[in-house]
């Protein structure tokens, strides 16, 4: 069984980097790992060797590692078209790709990106080539959007929904006609005819699509699929994270833990006394100001470290005791595999979780 680690979190939290580091950590522990990244920053992409857009896994050259690491980057462009072409006959695909409503839906429907990521995940787990797939998820405003996306896509493809629109007879037909006529009144008849055609075309391909989306959905709920939540120590959106966790648990999915980025380490003194600082540079112009700034630094760093740990403690408490790993900032940012390697020292399976006691 291929195990899956899904890294969720809002944009700007260092999620892509963390996913890559987590993958490297498992590879170092001897597993055959593949990481599916989404829009990695240039330097990370270069470090992983996926600088050029690639929908197939590439081997990341590692020295002295027990396992292997592959990386790929999700191709955002034309992902919907790809799926349509896969499930529809050539003629049907052409007509669908030409439909005005489809064009609007495929380029703007939120959730399609997430859906495509999960589609790709399904492909990678089916290959049997890897022990573990690490999935970086598309950046969303709220982490829960990740779950809603596939459901939303499925809702649109829902067979009962399609037949409701296409079935014009009986009482149900009357209600549908009423609703369609209201939409025609509000939005114009052309929109209604575009939408009807869209759903008629979709109806023809919905069986294959549905079967696939159900398998994808089952994969998200599988016991071997674990979820990680990545957050920024400076701004962990607790309500958002806990909301996500609740949805996760309602769905019976497994939560692995929090990975908190950019955590300030607790400063460990001893530090020089104020008098010593004042004397040390007494000759320097403007030293008074400097020594005051220096004197204030340990307390400021300590306050920041405490604030970060308090936030994590509250998060862990609200989550009912789920583990959290604290990952410090890497000086200068992660620019290379060495930078990633430095991160892995603070991540599972190597590092122990934060003890909140």
């Amino acid at each position: 069984v291929t195990r899956v680690a899904v890294c969720c979190g809002v944009g700007g939290t260092g999620k892509t980097t963390t996913a890559a580091a987590l993958a490297l950590a498992y590879a170092a522990a001897g597993e055959r790992v593949v990481v599916l990244t989404i829009d990695p920053a240039r330097r990370l992409a270069d470090a992983l060797g996926v600088g050029e857009l690639s929908n197939t896994p590439r081997l990341v050259p590692l020295e002295n590692q027990a396992g292997t690491l592959h990386a790929l980057m999700l191709d955002r462009k034309g992902t919907w078209d790809e799926v349509i072409r896969r499930y529809a006959s050539a003629d049907l695909a052409e007509r669908l790709l030409d439909n005005r409503y489809y064009k609007a839906v495929s380029t703007r429907l939120s959730g399609s990106h997430e859906y495509m990521a999960v589609e790709k995940l399904h492909e990678l787990t089916s290959a049997g080539q890897f022990d573990r797939v690490v999935l970086d998820t598309p950046p969303t405003q709220h982490v829960v959007d990740f779950f809603r996306a596939p459901d939303r896509i499925r809702g649109i493809l829902d067979r009962s929904m399609l037949s409701l629109i296409l079935d014009d007879t009986g009482v149900r037909g009357m209600a549908t006609r009423g609703a369609l006529s209201l939409i025609g009144r509000l939005a114009g008849e052309r929109v209604v005819s575009d939408i009807r055609e869209f759903f008629e075309l979709l109806h023809e391909l919905s069986a294959g699509f549905r079967e696939r989306s159900e398998r994808v959905s089952a994969l998200l709920r599988a016991p071997a699929t674990h979820y990680w939540l990545v957050a920024n120590a400076d701004a962990p959106e607790r309500n958002d994270l806990i909301g996500f966790l609740n949805e996760l648990r309602e769905r019976g999915m497994t939560f692995a833990g929090f990975l908190i980025n950019r955590v300030q380490p607790t400063p460990t003194g001893p530090f020089p006394s104020d008098e010593a600082l004042q004397q040390a540079g007494a000759g320097e112009p403007g030293w008074e100001q400097v020594s005051a700034a220096l004197s204030a630094l340990p307390a400021a760093a300590d306050a920041r470290a405490r604030a970060h740990r308090d936030a994590v403690r509250q998060l862990v408490l609200a989550a009912g005791g789920s583990p959290a790993w604290l990952v410090p900032e890497i000086a200068g940012g992660v620019r290379s595999l060495d930078g990633l390697r430095e991160l892995t020292r603070h991540l599972p399976p190597h590092a122990a979780p934060f003890r909140s006691a």
Binding site: G11, S110, R185, L186, N232, L277
Partner: protein, 302 residues
């Protein structure tokens, strides 16, 4: 013109950059300047209300302080309002409309969700009903779904899809309002880090191509270099090397300085990118101890 001199400010930015906090700060700032202000959340959450010191979310206009209300909307609430006010559909008929089919339809039509909410905002500002509050200024915490560009484009998408009818009229009115640089200002919020900066520049460029000018970019949580120059960090480290227990302190100086330097270089990158797009230099704010203070700072800086 300052952002507050417009009728509407759209605050865009990804999750985690402090967009909601900045929205709340801008609202406090506008109220401070005597504008009758409404801080609006279009994501259906309590985040903005909580930042402003209230509990929970509500579609009612709720008073925060004198001259400042907070309001939270969902597409369904705005759609219902639209059917009642513009189509004059009675309550029972509106209930029928809210069946699964119509709800799914609304969810599936691109831009309709966003357009319903922006239409409500435009109505409030341009022709408020006799039962509605009158605002000089609304500041919007952009909704959770999608991208800022999609939100601003929603009205145009809808105008293109529908050639006639009430949706068409409403979306045209919204598009005209949003594209008018005298009435609407777009404010982007970002962090002084590499990835958020490049995303912000990308968004600003995309917005520009669609005819939306970015008025102001606010870089949030910017840390400043703690050591003045002269003498500078190198000199200070040298001095510290001769002080008892100086090494640990030198380590802290290096940490904070590295962060401040990273922020400064990200800000420089942002400023350069914005200049190439013909957009003013970003406004940098540090961590604000309170929304009130942030409001005061924004009045000063903007």
């Amino acid at each position: 013109m300052r952002p507050f001199d417009h009728r509407l400010v759209m605050v865009l930015g990804k999750g985690g950059v402090g967009r909601t906090t900045v929205t709340a700060g801008l609202a406090r700032a506008a109220a401070r300047l005597g504008r009758r202000t409404c801080a609006a959340d279009l994501g259906g959450t309590d985040a903005l209300a909580v930042r402003l010191g209230l509990v929970g979310r509500s579609y009612q206009f709720r008073r925060v302080i004198g001259g400042l209300d907070v309001w939270s909307a969902t597409p369904a609430e705005c759609f219902d309002d639209f059917l009642a006010r513009k189509i004059h559909l009675p309550g029972l008929a509106r209930k029928v409309v809210h069946n699964r089919f119509v709800d799914t339809f609304i969810d599936a039509v691109p831009g309709l969700n966003d357009m319903m909410m922006l239409g409500r905002v435009e109505n409030l500002l341009v022709e408020p009903g006799s039962d509605e509050p009158q605002y000089d200024f609304m500041v919007i915490d952009a909704p959770a779904t999608g991208h800022g560009l999609t939100l601003l484009q929603a009205a145009r998408t809808m105008t293109d899809m529908t050639k006639v009818g009430p949706f068409h009229d409403l979306s045209r009115a919204v598009d005209i309002f949003l594209s008018d640089p005298h009435r609407t200002a777009v404010v982007l919020v970002t962090l002084p880090e590499e990835l958020p900066v490049s995303e912000t520049l990308e968004l600003a460029a995309d917005l520009g191509q669609e005819g939306f000018r970015v008025h102001t970019v606010i870089a949030n949580l910017v840390e400043r270099e703690p050591i003045p120059d002269p003498p500078g960090v190198a000199k200070v480290s040298e001095v510290l090397s001769s002080v008892t227990d100086g090494a640990a302190l030198a380590g802290l100086v290096a940490d904070v300085s590295a962060r401040a330097a990273r922020h400064a270089s990200a800000l420089a990158e942002l400023e350069g990118g914005l200049r190439r797009l013909g957009i003013a230099a970003p406004v940098a704010v540090g961590r604000a101890p309170s929304i009130e203070r942030l409001g005061a700072t924004l009045v000063e800086l903007l």
